[in-house]
């Protein structure tokens, strides 16, 4: 094994072990980066190791990379969606929405989960920033689901997995980056956006199926609320009245994007203002509520950005130690015969997803494999969408599953990381099932782009 491979494995192992100590994720990422910077520098300077590693092009680049986070206009949406979620939660509107929706789905066990997924799919159409959607869904739904004695794993898994749909359903920064890296007209941003649409909906539908079927088999994980009224026109009317404000908010945010009034980033600000106004109208907006919401927005945004900061340090050091090359060589060493090449690549991506985030995987692997895939005559949109679905899954797979960290940060304290792990396993399986479906029926991904822009 090469020294580079050894170091790369060592760095991941260090991270995994330190993560388990319970020290904050962000600082474990940053601290691991420092430790391996020291290892790398000592190896090169003291032992003359033949690495391209040096301090200045790894940890030395921290300012440039942190600044890259600061000057990202797109990331402004993150705190805005968080604020919107907190405002809805604090003002009691979220709870009201959830409870009313359940009156409609009352007969269905798992009605709350279905509601979460429905909101999540809509939310996914407004933002591609997973931190925002996971946190927002978690804040809106977890307290209510737990209050109604939902199984902790089931509740948190649903919110967490649904929150990751945003990166697949357009608008999606991931798909834009992929188009840029592919740089071929057959897989333009537009083609990928269209291609991801049905697979995204398919996933949403499969989540819903799970949320309905699993409680049928295991009633205790999703009890039916006992004070549920019989469905009558009166109840439906009440529900409609109760849901209107929030529905208007969500549609307002979505609508402002679709009507071309606002960009996705701006829509996040529109949503924040909308939530503020809703709270004002429903007379919940006291000064303390306002203050608390703002403070909580800061702490929530800060813990997510801290993870970004730690992760950017981690990845630049990993890269300095030769992480890219190790992964590239491992991948090129795979048996890449035309039969099964797609499966082998996707499986590799799925496995890498346990350790690397989507940006890393896209940057390292997509340009490497796409030409091979295309030269063998496979549809590049289809392949890229499969790739994207694998990456969406990577948010859910421990140890480096960022959605898991985000949901932990906003989950009520009785939810443990083990509950989260337990809760997302079924969703990881659903992801794999959806992946197989799109693999077997490429039209799910390729039909819409083939007709959309003619």
């Amino acid at each position: 094994m090469s020294l580079e491979a050894l170091f790369v494995i060592g760095m991941f192992a260090t991270f995994g072990v330190l993560l388990m100590t319970g020290f904050p994720v962000a600082w474990v990422l940053g601290g691991t980066a420092v430790i391996w910077t020291v290892v790398g520098v000592v190896a090169v300077e003291q032992f003359g190791a033949n690495l391209w590693f040096d301090y200045s092009s790894s940890m030395g680049l921290i300012p440039e990379r942190v600044w890259g986070l600061v000057e990202s206009e797109t990331l402004v949406a993150l705190p805005m969606f968080i604020f919107m979620g907190i405002m809805l939660d604090q003002s009691g509107i979220a709870e009201k929405l959830m409870n009313n929706m359940v009156k409609l789905f009352g007969a269905i066990r798992g009605g709350y989960a279905v509601t979460v997924i429905a909101i999540g799919v809509l939310l996914a159409a407004t933002t591609g920033i997973i931190g925002a959607s996971v946190v927002l869904l978690g804040m809106l739904s977890l307290p209510v689901m737990l209050e109604n004695k939902y199984d902790k794993g089931f509740a948190v898994g649903t919110a967490c997995a649904t929150g990751t749909l945003g990166i697949l359903i357009p608008p999606s920064i991931m798909l834009v980056l992929m188009a840029d890296r592919l740089a071929v007209p057959e897989a333009s941003v537009g083609d990928l956006f269209m291609g991801a649409f049905f697979p995204g909906l398919l996933l949403g539908a499969m989540y819903v199926a799970y949320a309905i079927l699993r409680p049928l088999l295991q009633p205790r994980i999703a009890p039916i609320p006992d004070d549920l009224p019989k469905i009558s026109p009166r109840v439906i009317w009440d529900v409609i009245v109760a849901v209107i404000p929030t529905a208007a908010l969500i549609l307002g945010v979505l609508g402002s994007i679709f009507a071309g009034i606002a960009t996705p980033t701006e829509a996040s600000g529109v949503g924040a203002l909308g939530a503020l106004l809703l709270a004002l109208v429903s007379r919940r907006l006291t000064l303390p509520v306002m203050r608390d919401s703002l403070h909580q927005t800061t702490r929530t945004a800060a813990f997510i950005f801290a993870i970004f900061v730690g992760a950017t340090a981690f990845s630049v050091v990993l890269r300095g130690l030769g992480g890219d090359r190790v992964i590239e060589e491992a991948l090129l060493g795979l048996p890449l015969d035309p039969n099964g090449i797609i499966i082998v690549i996707l499986f590799a991506v799925f496995l890498l997803g346990f350790f690397l985030d989507w940006v890393e995987i896209t940057l390292i692997i997509l340009p490497l494999v796409a030409p091979v895939v295309q030269s063998l005559g496979f549809d590049l949109v289809w392949f890229t969408i499969l790739f994207a679905m694998c990456l969406q899954t990577s948010f859910l797979t421990p140890p480096v599953g960022f959605a898991l960290f985000y949901i932990k940060g906003v989950a009520p304290p009785e939810i443990k990381v083990t509950d989260i792990y337990r809760g997302v396993v079924p969703f990881i399986l659903i992801q794999l099932a959806a992946l197989i479906l799109v693999f077997v029926l490429p039209a799910i991904a390729t039909w819409l782009p083939s007709v959309a822009y003619q």
């Binding site: 592919l182 740089a183 960009t263 940057l363 822009y453």
Partner: protein, 334 residues
């Protein structure tokens, strides 16, 4: 001792013309130097964000970088004149000024005057960008009033003066913004690159000529200490490789754009020419903007005057020497 250069780049190395020369230079330098200069290319975002390549090279955090130096406008006001100038020179005219008219030397001075420790080498150039993608045709100057448009650099400033609402929204939101009508228009690059972003799929008016960017130049930046370490042979190799990359990059763009435009036309994209009177007005405003910039920065003024000086005699030649384009093909239908 072999030199090892880490070279972050600003554009994907597989983007034709814009990014491809960077990969070619990295390979060529490593091979042609027999390994005495080893260049490893780092795709955008892998090491240094595109906007910070100059700073990182100057600080010696990386030994080299490959970028569109126009991004450094906020630190070196004169830089746009070396990167892309509205109503600027055609690529070969720019090359003439750069190689023979003192451009290369001026560029080193301009960086040094602002305290940057870099050696800059012209290392890629592409021909005109398109003047953008529009949801409605442009017929009069009035059409720019209130238009919501994404437009970069000095060209954006020109349009702002004409009453457009100019935005610099992030690249990741462009496609959707154009599709949903959040913006009415955007420019990005030349056709071979624009098609990757899918603009032709959502709007049908593609305007020409690209008045805001007749040439777009990329440079290899090398940390000054690192450059001082190189032997004469290595210096010569860097210069030769970059000169070759510039030629090859220009050739690649010129080769591909026509074909791409043809496929656009098959898909119903109108490749319209901006009417002459609008162009004239755009040019007037551009000159105002350039004069304003020149008044703000001594180096800008110096470089601008050097280019104007060259252009005076060059235009004597250029306007006589070249055939109209429609007379250089055998196709009568042109």
């Amino acid at each position: 001792e072999d030199l090892r250069w880490k070279m972050p780049v600003a554009f994907s190395s597989n983007l034709p013309g814009l990014g491809s020369p960077s990969a070619w230079v990295a390979d060529n330098l490593t091979t042609a130097s027999n390994g005495s200069i080893q260049v490893r290319l780092y795709e955008p975002g892998k090491l240094v964000p595109a906007f910070d390549i100059l700073q990182a090279v100057s600080d010696g955090k990386v030994q080299a970088g490959y970028t569109w130096i126009g991004y450094d406008q906020g630190k070196v006001p004169a830089i746009p004149l070396f990167a892309a100038v509205p109503f600027g020179m055609k690529p070969w005219a720019y090359m003439a000024w750069y190689y023979h008219g003192g451009g290369h030397e001026l560029l080193q001075e301009v960086y040094a005057n602002k305290g940057f420790d870099v050696h800059a080498q012209l290392c890629g150039i592409i021909g005109p960008e398109t003047a953008g993608w529009y949801s409605e045709p442009i017929e009069t100057l009035e059409d720019y009033k209130g238009m919501k448009i994404r437009f970069a650099g000095l060209g954006g400033k020109v349009l702002e003066k004409l009453g457009a609402s100019v935005t610099m929204m992030p690249g990741g939101e462009l496609f959707q913004a154009l599709e949903k009508g959040t913006i009415d228009a955007t420019e990005f690059s030349m056709p071979a690159i624009d098609q990757i972003l899918g603009f032709n799929q959502v709007v049908k008016y593609n305007l020409f000529p690209g008045w805001h960017q007749q040439f777009t130049a990329q440079y290899m930046l090398i940390n000054q200490n690192e450059w001082d370490k190189t032997t004469e042979a290595q210096k010569a190799l860097v210069e030769a490789s970059c000169t070759a990359a510039t030629t090859r990059g220009l050739a690649e763009g010129e080769y591909k754009n026509g074909k791409v435009l043809e496929t656009f036309q098959e898909k119903g994209v109108q490749a319209d020419q901006i009417p002459r009177d609008i162009l004239t007005k755009l040019q007037q405003v551009t000159h105002e903007v350039l004069k304003e910039e020149a008044a703000k920065d001594e180096d800008f003024k110096r470089v601008f005057e050097s280019q104007q000086e060259f252009l005076k005699s060059y235009s004597t030649w250029a306007k006589r020497a070249y055939l109209p384009v429609d007379m250089t093909t055998m196709d009568d239908s042109q």
